[in-house]
Structures are given as structure tokens and as C-alpha cells.
Symmetry: C2
Subunit: 340 residues, 2 copies
DNA sequence: CTGAAAGCGCTTACAG
DNA sequence: CTGAAAGCGCTTACAG
């Protein structure tokens, strides 16, 4: 079902000009007289001429496509980042190809390769959980501009855009301390998660700064931070002798599990145990009590990632930059902690 | 930061063959001897040769890219469809470009045009709310295979993939009737929404089939179906004389507003008023009581949309097909209605 | 100010 | 079984 395609050549024939002139006129080349330019543009418009981007890209060795790889596209926070990416890319004249790695490193590798082969101008990656296999990412780095966002890693020397996890976590813990909590548990991911480690660092720092004892017993690490695990770990925390009076769950979805379990045991939130999450996902205003959490400006993260990527794409020098960009998250206080 | 690129020509030089032969060997053309084929493939592999997809696409007038336009990428249900699209496309060797129309018809038009210009092989569209401007979609239909999914319209003659809205709504209402409800309100969108109208039709049919009076007073139409509107319309429904004993909210997010408002007035759910939503979004197990709703298999919808689109792309005949594909949704009964 | 010509990397009808 | 050549639609250095 191909329609007749208008090409430069056809326009040229009709106008009795060369394709070169038509091409230049359309691209506002300075050498072309105002008169011809107008003639050409008018005809092009009236015939609904659209340049074949593939031919141009092929010629110029540039596709104006950005590749994006995310672990899980159904996460609300991820979609807000994607929205920012789409918006900014469009603004700058780039198209976006999205892939989902499903937290599978092998898939991620494959996607990286396909994108290179496909000839994207640059790649934006949010890493899978277990990114031990850093090699392929490093390799890709040599072939094509690449920037990490959200799930990043300090082992990869490139520009990275994240939220200020450590500071945001710090302020969350400080808030708990301010409302009188003294025994604050944390549910985090194991060491492989860079984001989780940053939040954990903020947790430790806040406790230290306020001279609160750090107790390994209420520092819980899980492999897979989910509502399920939130439930399980809350059960565990309730079983130990010196129960916590607050729980900092490193993601909203695990916080949901925490709250549901506390409610099951009729524990008063926040009087007996306060709860803080991280993400400001939609759950946070649906669960009762509404969840205190850190709002992460996803769109801003997405926009910035694109901005820095395009900078690298259009920068001809051969150096790989590795800026660390931290976007500010803000603590949103709701009923799962006391308002001060 | 361009790396040295391996091309067919280079391989040919090294092997002392013509590019034609190398090309054919790589594409498993039958004319090539087993021996040469192996030699070529071995070298290609060891030199990490990857074909330039743009050159090939340019040559063949095919890009192997599918364009996708959705109104709002942050909706959970949409992301599950997208996941299905990505998966199926990848399987079939296609890449996916995604755009978000933000429910803005002008944007949608622009995106349709850009995609055409970009040379995608086919387009998958979930329409904006107010698609009065059907013209551009119809125009696009002449230029490029196009399939509608989720938010569709019977005014556009092309293949459409949706859930079986009418039947699913019918079974939801029937369930309410079975648990003894006799005065069932509906909160729906205005006429412009095809999906909403289908669900409304299911509602009407179920009531008629069970000889239940239809009362306009409890048939509520809103412009924008959201949690906010769910709240407002519940307030309204509670203010009328003959209150409903059940509310069918056409989306989960509005159902959340319904439940929150009923709880505010201490109305027992489901004893006094039962609530049913539509989508089986994540809220439905977080809100209390958990929401009875229709599960929509998003991935299946996405996969089917891609399947039919590729069929059209690869079908050379000039006819536009317009199959109506309905994917079955299933009612999931939870605490917001009685389990029978 | 305009044109002829080369070339981006690939595929394929034609010839042998 | 293999090769020479044309061509996909565009841009651009070169020439005038």
C-alpha cells in the first residue's frame, strides 16, 4: 500500500531546477536567492513533500534517534521519566526508541547491541538490578554516547542523572527524629543497588548526626524490594524484642506492604510505628494512612538525561564526560508520620 | 566519537570477493556456495560486522520501525499494553518508537505526520479523548498501515484491538444483580468516548435483561473520568432522594474516588453501597475495601495489535482490512462487592 | 546564485 | 556460483 512518494528529484523536475538547488533551498542555505527559495518552498508545501529522513540520516551518518533502556516500563516513576525524555527529545528533534530489559542483564546486553547496530545517536540506560556484567555497558561507551539515569552505577565512567538519594533519605530520617522517633528501622536492597546504598548512607548519616544508636537488627536487606517483601520484613521486625518505632522503606511499594501488615496487627500508625516510603507513587495517597514519602521529579530527570546526552552527541570532541547530576527530591509529609 | 565502521566493502576487500557476494552470503542467498558462505560469515563475526540498518532500510524502502501513539504513558494499563507491543515487535524484528499525545488532538496529528515522514512501516494508535478530528487519522490510513487499540473509534475503518468492553461490563452488572443490588448507578464518560459507550451499553443491556428499571438520575456522565470526578459524583449520588445501592465506575481511578467518598460518610461497602471499577489497576488491591474490577489483559492487547499490524505491513495487497478484535477481560471479585 | 557529480552502505536484476 | 553496475533519496565539495 505504498503511496506515490514526492522526492527532491520530482520537485526539481517540475521547477526545472537541479536537485542540489532544491535541497539547498529547502535547507535555507545562504547561497540560494530569496526568489527561488520561495518558489521551491511553496511547491514543496503544496505537494506535501516530506524529506526521507532515512536517506538524509544515511547520508549524514546520523539518525536522530535516541535509544532508551529501562528495567520495567510499568513502574509509575519510570513512566514519568519516560514522559520527560519524550518531551525533551521531541523538542530537540530526536525520536525515541524504548526497550524494556525486565531486569535481565542478558537482555540488556542484547538491547545495547541492537541499538548500536540500529545506529542510534545515543543511549539512555537505567540499569538492571544486578549489573555485574558491566563490560558490555563499558564497551558500548566506546561506540556511542551513553548516559545513565535513575538506576546508575559508580563503576561506569559516564554522565549520570539521579535524584539526590542520600540527602533526600537524610531529610526523611531527620523528619522521623523530629517527630520523636528513636528506633528507626530501614528496609533496603542488598549492596548491588546503588540507589539503595545511597539512601542507606543518608539513613546512617542522619542517625549519626543525631547521636542515635545504629542497630544492625533493624537494618533489613532484601533481594527484591516489593510489597511482598515489605510484608514479610514487617512481620520479621515485629517479632524481634526491641521493636522499632518507625520504618523507613526504601520504596513506596514496599512501604505499602509495611502499612498493610501493621494494620493487620492493629498497630497504630504513626503513634506506635511511623512509616516513610520513597517515590511519591500513586499508592501513597490511596493507602491509609496516606504515606509520607519522597517525591522524585521524574520528568526533570528525563529531560536532563536527554539534555546531557544530546550535548554529548553534538559535541565532536572525543572525550567522554562524566558529570554527576543530582535532581532534588522533596519529602512530602502525610499521615503515616506526624506532621510537625 | 565515531568508531571505525566495518562495511560490506571492507569485508569484500579482505576476502577478495565482490560486495555482492558478501552481501548474498550474509543473507543466506541460495546461489552462494557453502564454502564461501562460511568464509564470509566467519570473518564478519570475527570483525564484529553489523549491517547498517539504515542503508538497508533506505534501499528496501522499509525501516522495520513501528510507531506507537498513546494518550498518556503513565497509566498503568497503558504500560502493560506497551510492554506487550515491545515484546511482540522485538520478536518479529521490529523496533518501536513511542509518542505521547497527552490527549491533545493537535499533538496527535503532528505525531502522525512526523511518523509518516520518519518512514515508519506502520502505526499503532490509541486515540485521544476528543477525537473529532478524525480527518488526519483517515488521511494517515491512506499512507501507511494503521491499527487502533484500546481507545478506538467506529468511525475509522481499520483493524481495531480492544477489550470486550460491552460483555465485561455486562458481567460486572450481572454480578451486582446477583448479590442482590437493584439500584445500580453508573459513572461514565460523555458520548465521545467509544470505550465508555460500550461499557454503558453493557450496563443497559444487563439491566434490561434482568428487568431492572433504568433511571436517568443515576446515570452520571462526566467529561474527565478521574478520582476527583469520582468523588464529586459520589457526593452528588448521595444527595439524591433514592440513593443507589451500587455504583459502577467506568475506571478504577474514579472508583477510588467513589470508595474514598463513601468511607468519608461512613457508608458501608458493600452492604449499603457496592462498588465496581474497571481495569484491575494496582490501586484495586491497595484501596480498602479491595476493589471488584475487570482485569484487562494489556499485554495480550499489545501483542495482538502488533501482530495484525505486521500482517498488514507485510501483506502487499492494497486493501485495508478492518477486523474487530476483542480480547476477553475478566471480572475479579473483591471486597467492594459480596463474593457469591 | 546554480548545477553536475560523487558518495553514504546496501541489495538485486542482469550477465556470464 | 560470482561480479559489475545501477540505484534507493539525499547532501555537499567542487566548479563555474
Amino acid at each position: 500500500m505504498k503511496k506515490e512518494i514526492i522526492t527532491l528529484k520530482k520537485l526539481a523536475q517540475i521547477l526545472e531546477l537541479s536537485t542540489s538547488t532544491v535541497s539547498r533551498a529547502l535547507n535555507d542555505h545562504q547561497d540560494i536567492s530569496e526568489a527561488t527559495r520561495k518558489r521551491v518552498k511553496n511547491l514543496a508545501q503544496s505537494m506535501h513533500y516530506v524529506p526521507n529522513i532515512f536517506a538524509r540520516g544515511f547520508r549524514k551518518h546520523k539518525t536522530n534517534i535516541i535509544g532508551v533502556i529501562v528495567p520495567n516500563i510499568t513502574h509509575y516513576f519510570t513512566t514519568t521519566i519516560v514522559r520527560g525524555i519524550l518531551e525533551e527529545a521531541k523538542l530537540k528533534g530526536y525520536r525515541v526508541i524504548i526497550s524494556e530489559s525486565n531486569n535481565d542483564t542478558a537482555k540488556q546486553t542484547e538491547m545495547l547491541n541492537t541499538m548500536i547496530q540500529f545506529g542510534v545517536d545515543g543511549i539512555l540506560v537505567s540499569l538492571t538490578k544486578m549489573t555485574k556484567d558491566i563490560d558490555t555497558v563499558l564497551q558500548t561507551l566506546n561506540k556511542c554516547p551513553l548516559i545513565l539515569f535513575d538506576k546508575v552505577s559508580n563503576k561506569i565512567p559516564c554522565t549520570q542523572v539521579t535524584i539526590n538519594d542520600e540527602e533526600a533519605a537524610y531529610s526523611a530520617i531527620e523528619h522521623l527524629i523530629n517527630i520523636g522517633k528513636k528506633r528507626i528501622a530501614i528496609i533496603k536492597e542488598r549492596e548491588f543497588s546503588y540507589t539503595s546504598e545511597k539512601r542507606y548512607a543518608g539513613y546512617l548519616k542522619a542517625l549519626k548526626d543525631h547521636n542515635i544508636e545504629i542497630d544492625e537488627k533493624i537494618i533489613i536487606s532484601v533481594d527484591d524490594i516489593s510489597t511482598q517483601q515489605g510484608k514479610r520484613m514487617t512481620n520479621h521486625l515485629l517479632s524481634i524484642k526491641k521493636k522499632p518505632d518507625a520504618i523507613f522503606a526504601i520504596t513506596d511499594s514496599s512501604a505499602v506492604g509495611v502499612i498493610q501488615t501493621l494494620k493487620k496487627f492493629n498497630i497504630k500508625i504513626p503513634e506506635e510505628i511511623a512509616v516513610v516510603g520513597f517515590s511519591n507513587s500513586r499508592f501513597s495517597t490511596i493507602i491509609e494512612p496516606n504515606l509520607t514519602t519522597v517525591d522524585q521529579p521524574g520528568e526533570t530527570i528525563g529531560k536532563n538525561a536527554v539534555k546531557y546526552l544530546i550535548e554529548e552527541i553534538e559535541n565532536t570532541t572525543d572525550t567522554i564526560s562524566n558529570k554527576m547530576i543530582e535532581i532534588k527530591g522533596t519529602l512530602i509529609i502525610r499521615d503515616s508520620t506526624f506532621k510537625v
